[in-house]
């Protein structure tokens, strides 16, 4: 929304006194809201001169050009003049004529339009088809006051006074040297009044500590006593949806002379971002911009035609649309209406989309002579839904969705009628219709002085608070320390005491608030175990040369399908994602990680040693898993890691890649897990190669899955053959839970023995190791010794069915030096037990 300082100064001349642009911009930002852009028209009209065109002659060498002599009363120096002191200007405008008054841009001046577009064009005397022209006569476009470029600006409005020889400051009177500030709409989502120039003028006055007085016609609505037409028409105005349209006003005007608006008005609305159309349409835009109150002017005769009724038979008013109904709007937009859209009907026919846009068939055009003005208040939520539904975000819709007051429609109608009576000769040809059941003015709010000061950290006096609020036209009564505040009718946003706190703090200036830390009890802020665990994992993985990455929480269906997951069955689906790659909440982190492998391998991103471990700490979701207490999907906290090495780097390992992921998991967890084959894990079916994968269990709980990617994934994601991965649930993972209790250190030397046991293939390494560890510990304990077991080679001679497991077993005593004899006995007992109880053979 754009704001014109000139317009504000017109309504509050105090804003022209001692107010400097830079200071104003800075105060605006600090006390009202951030400004997006500043457009200054201050300096661009310096060179512009008012001239009379004395003579117009054909150009000797060009049909379309004319050679004019203009009189600037010798105001400009250093320009060629004829004997009579007149200046020659070549002009191509069809409307140039002797005797007219125009604006001249002399040599050395800059075309104002060009100054606003940062492509400054400086004029000089130059030859046009053999005739030297000193500068140019300016069109509205060149003057940056509209897009009109069919001719030069004709100062007919000023001609009488200029002819009389009055000293007229044309640029000044047109209000051209403006300062236009543009700010984001969302800053004023709660401020209906700030969508009107008058509202912002009032705020600025408040910020400068000046009293603002809105124009009399806005505060005390004058009588509606405009000139009446001889022929009066009657309209039946009906409102069947009073709950959605709390106020609906209409009035008909005839004798309307459609033409271009007065130059000042055109220039204003153009600077404020509207395209000047004609005096009627421009006036609706001007009033809307001034007050924040939208309105729509219909061609009355077209309404009768569309309605198919005769004079005096028009039935007019708001209604809900019917399903299947359609309407053609301004700008040739044809839309299918929804049953919740509010429309304006003329004898049943929809002629406008209420609060959003008028219809094409009843548009005011150059042939219009009678106008029916509608000025309503529509339900903000209804307008918002229709606006979203049809993608129509018009200036009117933006304002209606800010909850405009129902108390200003009559003011807006009065002011619009005054403008049209003045600029279009319009006369009233109907009653003023006003369907307004409940007047809704803001209620008084009672507040204690403390309530305000405590929230702002200030020590304001009641009188100071009263002054701040009265400046912006709140009514304030102070009695001791209680303050009663009645917001003006346009402040529908001020409802509770906290709203008043904001007004006081803002108008007083936030920079006046003392900056002091809160004083509080010295309690401990409790720690968050999940965050601590994650940080511990990150530290360990960084030490293990792994890289943490982050990937999107949403994935596309293809990747999931490749991993054997039916996304529609398993995943929450996003229904409005702009990008098709963000369709499903991921049920596992692994596919996202695997997708990052190939690009990195290809780029040799791992360096000459092209191997890496990528991991992510993230969340996963499964469609049917809902927490009953909160009704929200259960969030699983997961750790996933992928290890990958290109063909060359993989040579530093031998055997299945499975063991590399296994190494990472066991090292970070500081634990030994139980591994089971993955038969029944649903998510694992196509994600993993079944012969190279395992379920990970800890203390009887399922923790996650580990292994090598399936063949189909290797192929579709172009993964190196030496790739393995795991994904575990952080809530199930017990970090470092397997550490043994502290054992005192012995002062006596220990002894170490090696043993190799051969299994015929029925036992796993874990079974054997567990047996060896438990048995030797028990045997040693009986002799008051401590034994520790370190696994060694796992060896299977080529073609042999058996597997050999080697262990290094160390013994130590707290009280004596061990002899080889006693250790030998323990080893013999172990070996015997292995052969008898565990079907293991001892290798010599």
């Amino acid at each position: 929304m754009k704001f014109s300082l000139k317009l504000a100064q017109f309504y509050n001349p105090d804003l022209a006194k001692g107010v400097n642009d830079d200071d104003l911009i800075s105060k605006f930002g600090k006390q009202l809201g951030a400004i997006e852009t500043v457009e200054s028209y201050r300096e661009i009209y310096h060179g512009v001169r008012t001239v009379k065109v004395v003579s117009v002659k054909p150009h000797p060498n060009a049909d379309k050009l004319k050679v004019c002599l203009v009189d600037d009363k010798a105001a400009v120096k250093d320009v060629d003049r004829d004997d009579n002191g007149l200046v020659r200007v070549v002009c191509g405008a069809p409307n140039v004529r002797a005797g007219m008054w125009a604006l001249w841009l002399p040599p050395g001046s800059t075309v104002p339009e060009s100054a606003m577009t940062n492509k400054e064009f400086k004029l000089e005397a130059r030859e046009l088809r053999g005739v030297v022209s000193s500068g140019m006569l300016a069109s509205e476009r060149e003057l940056a006051i509209s897009e009109e470029h069919d001719g030069i600006l004709d100062l007919a409005e000023f001609a009488d006074r200029l002819e009389k020889g009055d000293n007229v400051d044309v640029v000044g009177e047109l209000g051209l040297t403006d300062l236009v500030l543009d700010f984001e709409n969302k800053m004023f989502t709660h401020r209906p009044d700030c969508f009107g120039n008058l509202g912002i003028a009032r705020e600025l006055a408040g910020i400068y500590g000046k009293e603002h007085e809105s124009p009399d016609w806005y505060i005390d609505l004058p009588d509606f006593d405009f000139a009446k037409s001889e022929s009066q028409s009657s309209v039946e105005v009906v409102n069947s949806i009073h709950n959605l349209v709390p106020r609906f006003m209409a009035v008909a005007l005839d004798s309307v002379e459609i033409k271009s608006s007065p130059t000042w008005l055109k220039a204003y609305i153009y600077r404020l971002g509207y395209k000047p159309v004609n005096n009627v349409v421009d006036a609706t835009n001007y009033v809307m911009h001034l007050l924040g109150q939208p309105m729509h002017a219909f061609d009355y005769d077209k309404l009768l035609k569309v309605a198919g009724v005769g004079e005096g038979e028009l039935q007019f008013g708001p209604d809900l649309a019917s399903q299947g109904e359609s309407i053609e709007l301004l700008g040739d937009k044809k839309i299918k209406l929804h049953k919740d859209d509010i429309v304006i009907r003329a004898n049943g026919k929809a002629v406008a989309l209420g609060g959003i846009m008028g219809g094409k068939l009843t548009e005011v055009d150059s042939g219009t002579t009678r106008v029916l003005l509608e000025c309503a208040t529509f339900n903000m939520y209804s307008v918002r839904r229709s606006s979203m539904r049809h993608g129509l975000f018009t200036d009117a819709a933006i304002r209606y969705t800010k909850n405009q007051s129902t108390e200003q429609n009559d003011r807006a109608v009065w002011y619009f009628t005054k403008l049209l009576a003045g600029y279009a000769g319009a006369k009233l040809c109907s009653n003023l219709y006003d369907l307004h059941k409940n007047s809704s003015k803001p209620d008084p709010i009672g507040i204690d002085l403390d309530f305000i000061n405590l929230r702002l950290g200030l020590k304001l006096e009641p009188s100071e608070i009263a002054k701040l609020l009265q400046n912006v036209e709140f009514r304030v009564t102070v009695s001791g320390e209680s303050i009663e505040v009645t917001p003006p009718f346009w402040r529908t946003d001020v409802k509770i005491a906290e709203d008043v706190v904001e007004e006081v703090g803002r108008l007083n200036g936030y920079d006046k608030i003392p900056v002091l830390l809160p004083v509080r009890a010295a309690t401990v802020a409790s720690s968050n175990q999940l965050i601590i665990n994650k940080q511990q994992i990150r530290t360990r993985l960084e030490q293990m040369g792994a890289n943490e990455l982050l990937t999107y929480s949403f994935v596309k269906g293809d990747v999931l399908k490749q991993a054997g997951i039916d996304p529609d069955e398993t995943c929450f689906e996003i229904r409005n994602a702009l990008s098709p790659s963000l369709r499903y909440y991921r049920p596992t982190l692994l596919p996202s990680l695997l997708e990052k492998v190939h690009p990195n391998i290809k780029l040799q991103a791992g360096g000459v040693d092209n191997k890496f471990a990528l991991y992510e700490l993230g969340k996963t979701h499964i469609k049917d898993a809902i927490d009953e207490a909160t009704g929200l999907p259960i969030e699983n906290h997961r750790l996933a890691l992928v290890f990958s090495a290109d063909q060359k780097s993989a040579l530093s390992y031998s055997g299945a890649a499975y063991y590399q992921a296994n190494h990472y998991l066991e090292t970070i967890a500081g634990a030994v897990f139980e591994y089971r084959s993955i038969g029944g894990t649903p998510l694992a079916s196509k994600l993993f190669e079944p012969a190279r994968a395992a379920e990970v269990w800890q203390s009887g709980e399922f923790v996650g899955v580990l292994g090598q990617p399936s063949r189909s994934l290797l192929k579709s994601l172009k993964l190196p053959g030496f790739t393995s991965m795991f994904e575990v649930d952080l809530d199930m993972l017990n970090l470092g839970g397997a550490k043994e209790a502290y054992r005192p250190i012995s002062n006596f030397p220990g002894l170490t023995q090696d043993v190799t046991l051969s299994s015929m293939g029925n036992s796993t390494w874990a079974d054997v190791t567990k047996f060896v560890t438990n048995r030797i510990s028990t045997l040693a304990a009986k002799q008051s010794l401590h034994a520790s077991v370190e696994p060694g080679d796992i060896y299977s001679p080529d073609g042999a069915v058996s597997t050999n497991y080697s262990y290094k077993i160390s013994f130590v005593s707290m009280s004596r030096t061990l002899t080889t004899g006693e250790v030998g006995d323990l080893m013999t007992s172990l070996v015997r037990a292995a052969e008898q109880e565990f079907d293991l053979k001892v290798m010599s």
């Binding site: 969302k186 906290e498 900056v515 809160p518 960084e542 030490q543 890289n547 943490e548 994602a577 055997g655």
Partner: protein, 342 residues
Amino acid sequence: MKEIEQARVQLRARFDKLNDDDKRTILRAPELRDLFAMIGSIEPASKAQFGQNINKLKQDVAGWVDDYESAAESRQLKPIDITAPWDINTASDKRPASLPAAYGSQHPLTKEMQIISDIYLRMGFEVHQSREIDNEFNMFTSLNFPQDHPARDDYDTFVTKDGYIAPAHTSTMQHRIISGSRAKLEKGLPIAAIVPDRVFRNEDVDATHEHTFYQIEGIYVDKGANVGHLIATLKTYMSEYYGQELNVKIQPFYFPFTEPSFEFAIERPARLKKDDTEEQKWLELGGCGMIHPNVLKQAGVDPSIYTGFAWGFGIERMVMMKYSIEDIRHFMSGKLNFLRQF
């Protein structure tokens, strides 16, 4: 379309009966050829759909073969001992090993969140996590956004088919934290918490915009909490984070869940300052305000006794400024040449 479904049943039955070595021959089954030949005679309206369905069948049949062959290859793979620390016959220098520590890195965003959380923890703020899937109540309603209020448009939220919402700000935790910590207020202790976590906005991605990013929310509720306390809390944190005394300024803004609402800016820290121009003087960082009485009320806290303030800012921008990172997309790219620089 019936023909296609019939063919599917026939083909599957035949596939299951085929010998191991002949499974592949199903790909050349005459039924598929015949179906393709039928396309020409299908009425134009359903031709496209018919074609798609045949293609789908053809893909499915290829899938059966792939699945079968994968399973067959798996069966041929020599089983490994999944309980062992390394494979059979692995020499001691070729066993699984960690990569050199020098290769390791932590993501710059989680690293920064750790630094930020640590400062707040030292200031006495608890650290909470947010959610990645939430509901309208926590995203809007509990934060005083009326149903259909235009302020909801300012958050381009991702919505699931079941009506869940991907949080567009970490303020979704306000209601939960305040209502969950109410007991503290009754003991005369403040509620002081921060939430650094992932948020989502449904918008197009470019060098400065991401649909997935990180935000930190701060909450403080106590008797007598005021705007001056809010500014001082921001100032204390920012000064510690940037290692120099910095001023904070606030300017009016609008959020439905705070009243009054502000945007805040800090004096630009020396190490991020290019010159002494006005533009370089302030660094706009985020939004803040006094918690709206309706938010407190909904969380079961009496706003006539307790007041509170909240603030929030984005993390990517701070990290990008810190390291002069030129493109926000690097964060989620998973590129090693990016990750290993941290």
